[in-house]
């Protein structure tokens, strides 16, 4: 991609198969919304040990100017790091290939980051869903609010890894690989703790939503099945 862009969209894929199409289409819709506001985006697919159907589904989505990186890492955090190493825009964000963004996510996050370039941004809320009718609305707390207890991160996680921030910040705080043989996982949780501990604020972008798919066999399932815990800082 030769033209200058503002946001690098990093979509990590593994074996989401046909579900990857919905993720990519939501990203494309958010890109289009951003472009209406003169925000240019690039899209990077990181295929980490992806199966053929996932690869073919992403190809069939036919996203113009998307770049694809094939890696053999077997780790969602390392895959995001790899995507970051390819990012050319001053801002970057992540999407897992079975989740979706609200259409306005990129536009509003880009607007918000102009005020808080030092922060890591999250949507105002997540809607967890599955195909069995489950719906859960979870609000993302603002780490600078009195409503947010930082000690809680020792017990539960506040934020997902589907964050938006200056590329430089994200590259300064790479994800740590899970080590399920040792019983350490939840790379997103650890990353939230590490960044907050380093003084980086986590801010929700008002009036934005992520849609998080709950499904069996996810990385999180795998971590929980092995009694996985977060790495200590």
């Amino acid at each position: 991609m030769s033209m200058a862009c503002d946001i690098s969209i990093i979509i990590t894929a593994h074996r989401e198969k046909l579900l990857a199409a919905t993720a990519v289409r939501s990203a494309v819709a958010a890109m289009a919304h951003a472009e209406e506001h003169q925000i240019q985006c690039e899209m990077i697919f990181v295929l980490d040990r992806a199966d053929d159907l996932t690869r073919d589904t992403l190809a069939a989505a036919n996203v113009p100017n998307a770049r694809t990186i094939e890696v053999d890492l077997g780790d969602p955090g390392l895959a995001r790091n790899m995507g970051l190493s390819e990012a050319r825009a001053p801002y970057a964000c992540f999407l897992d290939a079975d989740d979706l963004w609200s259409e306005n996510w990129l536009t509003e996050a880009h607007r918000f980051v102009a005020q808080r370039p030092d922060a890591i941004l999250h949507p105002a809320c997540n809607v967890f869903f599955n195909s069995s009718g489950l719906r859960k609305l979870r609000w993302h707390p603002d780490s600078e609010s009195a409503l947010c207890d930082p000690n809680y991160l020792e017990w539960g996680n506040y934020w997902t890894a589907l964050a938006f921030a200056k590329t430089e910040i994200l590259q300064s705080f790479p994800f740590r690989a899970n080590d399920l043989s040792l019983g350490f996982g939840h790379e997103d949780w650890h990353w939230c703790k590490a960044t907050l501990d380093a003084g980086i604020a986590h801010k929700p972008v008002p009036e934005t939503i992520h849609f998080i798919r709950i499904r069996n066999g996810s990385q999180s399932d795998l971590v929980n099945a092995t009694g996985g815990l977060t790495w200590p800082l």
Partner: protein, 507 residues
């Protein structure tokens, strides 16, 4: 993909936020007080907030207090509520639903969840965190409680020894009892986590979180069941960052004669995660090595750590005064002390007293672990008093020996203490007792449980004053040499400094 977002440690993937809250949540304590009067605007804000995040009753007071101190939080939450009720929200969800119809539009959405306010598992954890010291900690000792037992005493000794090498804390994990505060050094904080840990639905995970937050160099568990459990469940993770040690005392015995208790339940699971395991007797160490065929190169990580005697000062053996005062006693006098529980076999003492009517027996004790049948119809030559507080309460120099009748044991600290005082002892030859009392240092009873065997040994002891003197002196020498604080500290230092090498898997 569902990440670990909002996967509370206590509830894992169960996303339902409204399970019962077992403890008051206290993390709001750090918040300042706010003016008392509630303006109409504030009331509206409060109602909006409460409505939005549906806080439980115990959290309601907390959030009201928080909102008084931080009115901007009310607006923050009101903005969220306004967004959820907005056309924009509806529109965004509908557009996403067009791409993925499994995302249904708003009427199907629940109200919302905001951690930590809606996480009922967090209250006890916050309470536990609030009790932890801010300063760095080098060593954590996990104990079940602080009672009067041998393992309680040992944990106090361990605290004294460890505190000399770095900041140390003791954490009570199972019960809040703290009966002998004077046993423990002043510079070792004793933190009671038993109640918050009991209130959480995931106590083992909660203890892990506490340990992780403390980030000590080493963790010792001394008869803490939760301590054993946390190593059993998360030993490999803990061992990666901390040195892990566990202290084992003798197994308990079931009514059917089979062993039970911590040395039976845990070694097979936790030894691989430990840097070293301590045993109060050599016989227990040998039993564990044999049971699990522990490879010889790891034997030096299984250490016998005899409990130090309470007094390390050499005293003139009490047997000397006993023999000197013997002519003033009309009848021989034998002492007995212990719990009136099945293990200690006070029933044998009763039968022995009946079989030796020419001897007076003075006993001290009460039932601790079991509800025993009331002691009735004691023979006239047997008196029973409540437990003694100090050896100075006992007629140690105006008696003729000590009787010990346990059916099983490790090496009780009472015997160690009496040994250091030079007391003639007739003792069941069980557990680790023979390591201290054999034919040269006392009168071991190998047929323990047999009234005749005890009466035979007592008679032999009473009939031979010179043997009493000789064996009691030998016993004192052995005990003073074996059960010293210096020896204990040296072994502990050896364990703390053991090289870990390439393996991080402990044993």
């Amino acid at each position: 993909m569902l990440s670990s977002f909002n996967v509370s440690r206590g509830s894992r993937l169960k996303l339902s936020p409204n399970r019962g809250l077992n403890s008051k949540s206290l993390w709001w304590k750090r918040l300042a007080h706010a003016p008392r009067d509630l303006s109409r605007t504030w009331r509206r804000c409060r109602n909006g907030v409460l409505d939005l995040i549906k806080v439980s009753r115990s959290n309601r007071a907390a959030i009201e207090k928080l909102l008084r101190a931080h009115p901007e939080c009310a607006k923050e939450i009101q903005d969220r509520r306004a967004f959820q009720n907005s056309d924009l929200f509806y529109d965004l969800v509908c557009k996403a639903s067009e791409l993925e119809p499994n995302i249904l539009p708003p009427p199907h959405l629940e109200r919302g969840y905001l951690a930590p306010w809606n996480d009922p598992s967090y209250g006890p954890i916050a309470e536990a965190f609030s009790r932890l010291p801010d300063a760095p900690v080098a060593h954590v000792i996990l104990v079940p409680h602080g009672k009067l037992g041998g393992s309680d005493y040992l944990s106090a000794v361990l605290a004294q020894s460890l505190s000399a090498t770095g900041p140390t804390i003791i954490m009570r994990t199972d019960r809040s009892d703290w009966d002998k505060a004077d046993w423990y050094p002043d510079d070792v904080p004793a933190i009671d986590l038993s109640k918050p840990l009991a209130c959480t639905n995931a106590p083992v995970l909660a203890l892990y979180s506490v340990l992780k937050r403390l980030n000590p160099k080493s963790i010792f568990t001394v008869n803490s069941r939760l301590g054993f459990e946390v190593i059993k469940q998360f030993g490999p993770q803990l061992n990666h960052y901390h040195r892990l040690y566990a202290y084992f005392f003798c197994a308990d015995m079931r009514a059917d004669g089979f062993q039970t208790g911590y040395p039976v339940w845990y070694p097979g699971h936790i030894l691989p995660s430990l840097d070293a395991a301590f045993f109060d007797t050599e016989v227990l160490r040998t039993t564990i090595i044999d049971r699990f065929a522990v490879p010889s190169q790891l034997h030096d990580r299984l250490l016998t750590m005899p409990s130090p005697a309470r007094s390390s000062e050499f005293q003139d053996p009490v047997v000397h005064e006993q023999l000197a005062s013997q002519p003033s006693r009309e009848r021989p006098k034998i002492l007995w002390g212990g719990r009136l529980d099945r293990q200690k076999r006070f029933d044998l003492v009763v039968e022995i007293a009946k079989a030796m009517p020419h001897v007076d027996f003075c006993a001290w004790g009460q039932s601790v672990l079991e509800t025993s049948a009331p002691v009735r119809f004691l023979p006239s030559n047997l008196s029973l008093s409540p437990p003694f507080n100090s050896y100075s309460d006992l007629p140690l120099t105006a008696c003729d020996g000590w009787l010990y009748t346990s059916a099983w044991d490790g090496l009780p600290t009472t015997l160690v203490d009496l040994a250091t005082k030079g007391m003639p002892i007739v003792a069941s030859s069980v557990g680790g007792v023979p390591e201290l009392i054999d034919e040269s240092t006392g009168w071991p009873v190998k047929e323990w449980g047999s009234v005749d065997a005890y009466t035979h040994s007592l008679s032999a002891m009473l009939a031979d004053p010179e043997a009493r003197r000789a064996r009691a002196q030998q016993l004192q020498e052995r005990a003073v040499k074996r059960h010293t604080r210096k020896a204990f500290d040296a072994k502990l230092r050896e364990a703390l400094e053991m090289p870990r090498g390439d393996h991080v898997d402990g044993l």
